[in-house]
């Protein structure tokens, strides 16, 4: 069975797009082949800066012929029906078969599709894949209308087996398929022919191109770590950067160089960020000093001076960049030591949002709120206020202007320089956290207070001006902010009823609506942790649902309860009681809520239920008062057997009206007792 090799050779493909593009090529082509009736044993896709490649092994040489039978109308059906059938099958009347069936003669269409050669199918599928390739951004070039990520230069499309190889002919807007490619742009620019995948990969390597991205990444990582190790140093791991750099070179050559002495005093994060963002350098750390003292850069070429010129050039660019960074840092430190006044004043002229005022106005709100929240999170109110006031000062610093991703972190360095205490400085760094679902949640009380105030101010602010997220649109990242509040509250086990906080944060915000938004986010959050949505609903329906810790505690207990046999059966018993009661109430137009009296109880089971309810109520009331949901659930579970026994032995709708009413009132006690724990009517199933 033949193997297929495809290569799409172009100008440099952005590193960040290469991996997905290789996957897309594999998927588009293999799906297309399978759909057209071919099968294969294996497929693998590859990418380098200048090419996407696909190797498919043991492809069937042709698709099987397909015979399809379709039943049509009866032979005596109206002419229109028969014409319609002919149209849908594309056959003429003579080509139909008339077959005798029970109800008379019926037309059948027998459509036979010939098997097709693999080459024919491949050409169609590949053209379709190229023309509909899902690049995040694509472009035209020259006078053509074909779109690709950058100009596409050549295509290899080659079928090969033991007998040899054959080009699958293809012409896409003047680019014809062949069996030739080029090696490294500078080290082996000449074109060469290949006769199959193994030959292709081997010849590329000779032409100074490593086809596999993971092999390039491995080479880089191994050489870099060895080089660092030899000098007693270590590379700061950065997988994202490694993948990116592996996508920038076809032939990685690792070079290591020093960072000038003058720059070693910069915060390590600044060195790392500057080198990574501007130059895609890895940072090299001295484990003894903890400082970043060298860098590793990855060139795409071997030179006769062993990279000396390249390293010299890179060093020069690095010094220029770090001179800038040092200049910024020193200016910033001066400003910080002077009390950051200029930055804070400057924030007054920066608009946060045209309906929500300046950054300064926002900071004032956050500071007031942080002070208010502080006691609830165990923080000193004055420190929380102080931290919130300076937490965003670094937005006006030169360093953050240059590297926005260092916001917060620089705030900490500058707060330290300004002589603020460690708690306050840490809050400057951590108040943006958590940013994502896996980001670490601050635990230091001052940081927690400011982090909460920051997010709640944003949420209530946008709620007040009616800029809520809709559908997929969430330009102000409000979902993320709400999740941040949820995680801060839960992971720090805070008792913080949100309604009051919302009201004091912004009186114009619709707190009820915002709380419902929080509940939605909480549902998503808990669902990921395996809590059923109806269980959450049952708890949200209870009082105190703006206390998220309480809410989650209740949901956790209910979830655990429902996982037991008693729990599951009790819910059924509760539902049965509730249904009978609701129907009776609807029919009689009254509410049975009071006065069940054990003296009207006839059977032992009925009496036992009275006793069980007395016991359960006596246990549940104090348990709920102390928020001991587990104890309340256990007490509720004890009702399961008496309720089941009651329903087995007792007919609620007795003929005697007094006894019937008494029993309905008894059911009402079940309902009331159970609903005190959670709104079990919302449990599904």
């Amino acid at each position: 069975m033949p193997n297929l090799l495809i290569e799409l050779f172009s100008e440099e493909i952005p590193a960040r797009m290469q991996g997905k593009a290789a996957d897309d090529l594999r998927k588009l082509v293999t799906d297309g082949l399978v759909e057209a009736g071919l099968t294969y044993e294996g497929a693998a896709a590859f990418s380098t800066p200048r090419r996407l490649a696909l190797s498919i092994e043991n492809l069937t040489a042709e698709s099987k012929p397909v015979r399809e039978e379709r039943k049509g109308p009866r032979t005596d059906a109206p002419a229109q029906a028969i014409e319609g059938f002919l149209r849908s099958t594309g056959l003429s009347l003579e080509q139909l078969e008339a077959r005798d069936e029970k109800k008379g003669q019926v037309y059948y269409a027998v459509i036979e599709k010939q098997g097709r050669k693999a080459a024919e199918i491949i050409a169609e599928v590949l053209e379709n894949a190229i023309r509909n390739f899902p690049w995040p951004k694509s472009m035209r070039w020259g006078s053509g209308s074909l779109k690709w990520v950058r100009p596409l230069h050549s295509i290899i499309c080659l079928l090969s087996d033991e007998g040899g190889s054959e080009v699958v002919p293809l012409d896409i807007d003047g680019i014809t398929s062949g069996k030739s490619t080029k090696g490294h742009r500078f080290m082996a620019p000449a074109a060469f022919d290949v006769n199959g995948f193994d030959d292709y990969e081997a010849k590329l390597k000779r032409a100074r191109v490593i086809l596999r991205a993971e092999e390039r990444a491995e080479t880089i990582w191994n050489e870099a770590t060895n080089m660092a190790f030899a000098q007693g140093l270590e590379i700061v791991e950065d997988r994202g950067l490694l993948a990116e750099v592996a996508g920038l070179v076809e032939w990685p050559v690792v070079l290591m160089g020093p960072i000038g002495e003058a720059f070693l005093g910069l915060p390590p994060e600044v060195l790392q960020t500057s080198m990574k963002e501007h130059q895609k350098f890895f940072s090299v750390k001295n484990p003894k000093t903890g400082r970043i003292e060298k860098f590793v850069t990855v060139a795409n070429i071997e030179t006769k001076d062993n990279g000396e010129t390249i390293l010299k050039g890179n060093l020069k660019v690095l010094s220029a960049r770090l001179s800038d960074a040092k200049f910024f840092y020193e200016n910033d430190l001066r400003e910080a030591k002077a009390g950051m006044g200029k930055w804070l004043d400057g924030l007054d002229v920066v608009t946060f949002h045209n309906k929500l005022g300046s950054q300064k106005a926002r900071i004032d709100r956050i500071a007031a709120l942080a002070r208010e929240i502080a006691p609830a999170v165990g923080a000193d109110a004055d420190k929380a206020f102080e931290a919130a006031q300076i937490a965003k000062a670094d937005l006006r610093s030169e360093m953050v202007g240059e590297f926005p991703e260092l916001q917060g972190l620089m705030g900490m360095y500058y707060a330290n320089a300004a002589g603020r205490i460690a708690d306050v400085a840490a809050a400057c760094r951590d108040h943006y956290s958590p940013l994502g679902p896996s980001d670490e949640v601050p635990t230091a009380p001052v940081s927690v207070a400011v982090a909460l105030a920051d997010k709640i101010d944003t949420l209530t602010g946008f709620w007040a001006i009616d800029e809520k997220p809709t559908g997929s649109k969430d330009p102000f990242a409000l979902r993320r902010a709400a999740l941040g509040v949820i995680r801060l509250v839960l992971e720090n086990n805070l008792t913080l009823p949100l309604n009051a906080v919302f009201a004091s944060a912004n009186k114009d915000a619709d707190g009820e609506n915002l709380l419902a938004f929080f509940h939605d986010r909480l549902k998503v959050f808990l669902k990921d942790k395996g809590v059923r949505h109806d269980v959450i609903d049952a708890c949200i329906a209870m009082e105190g649902n703006d206390d998220l810790s309480l809410l989650v505690k209740r949901a956790g207990a209910l979830s655990a309860f429902m996982a037991t046999e008693d729990g599951e059966n009790l819910i059924q018993g509760f539902k049965r009681a509730n249904n009978i009661l609701s129907q009776a109430e609807a029919k009689d137009g009254v509410e049975y809520s009071f006065g069940a009296d054990v003296k009207f109880a006839e059977s032992d089971e009925e009496k036992a239920l009275f006793a069980a309810l007395d016991t359960a109520e006596a246990a549940i009331t104090p348990a709920m008062a102390s928020q001991d949901f587990a104890a309340a659930m256990t007490a509720m579970a004890a009702l399961r057997a008496p309720i089941d026994a009651f329903f087995t032995a007792v007919q609620v709708n007795a003929d005697n009206e007094i006894i019937r009413r008494n029993r309905l009132n008894l059911l009402s006690r079940i309902r009331t007792t159970c609903l005190a724990v959670a709104d079990l009517t919302r449990i599904e199933g």
């Binding site: 035209r140 070429i301 020069k316």
Partner: protein, 306 residues
Amino acid sequence: MAEKPRSFQEIILRLQNYWAAKGCAVLQPYDMEVGAGTFHPATTLRSLGSRAWAAAYVQPSRRPTDGRYGENPNRLQHYYQYQVLIKPSPPDLQDLYLGSLEAIGIDASLHDIRFVEDDWESPTLGAWGLGWEVWCDGMEVSQFTYFQQVGGHDCKPVSGELTYGLERLAMYVLGVDHVMDMPFNDPQSPIALKYGDIFRQTEEEYSRHNFDGATTEMLLQHFQDAEAECQRLLDMPADDPKTGKRIILAHPAYDQCIKASHLFNLLDARGVISVTERQAYIGRVRALAKLCADAFVQTEAGGFAA
């Protein structure tokens, strides 16, 4: 391999010769203040329409906010760009470009030359394209862009644009650390001039002017005048009563657009434009650029056939 160039002007001359030899019309700088070589009508307007085009030129460029009083080693409020625009982009444009580096003394077998993703967008021109910044040993030496849209019009055919930041490139090739120390003419000349001999004083003067000197009320008024004039020129009927010809004032109107753009940059440097206003100003310049593009494609040079 060509010998190493010895001065800033030699690098410019070699680029001129190289691109002339490759068939470009070597134009002269546009005689107005612009922020980048792209603003020259030889790029902005000529990238529109169906007619083939190939031009190369030096463009003095002004970025008022980048003024550093001549002190910063590589930041200037006035600097030179070398610009090449070829339409339709030829299939070997990358090789042509690499040839130009060789012409100015960059040996591709010794250096690490890389094409790193960089999508170009000019909000003021309503233009975007895809391409790269070209790195030489980690330093950005050029922008390489395939224009996709200019002034809101799809570019058909597509132009290939190359932009070299001349000072930075030359400093690298000549091995100079501070721009002001760079030899402008040949260091062996009877009167050898450094970049600083020519530009240090003007960098000081213009830095002060841009940040503190320029009268903002006047600039605001001029911005409005340029905006109004641009629109007025384009509103004039195409048929000229005096000559009886169809004469659309695309270029004169575009001059006003360029003017508005530079005035905006000056106002920005003076710090009188707030963050929210910024977007509005950029939008106003873009609206002019679009009108000019609309007008240009109605002209003969813009591919209009009566």
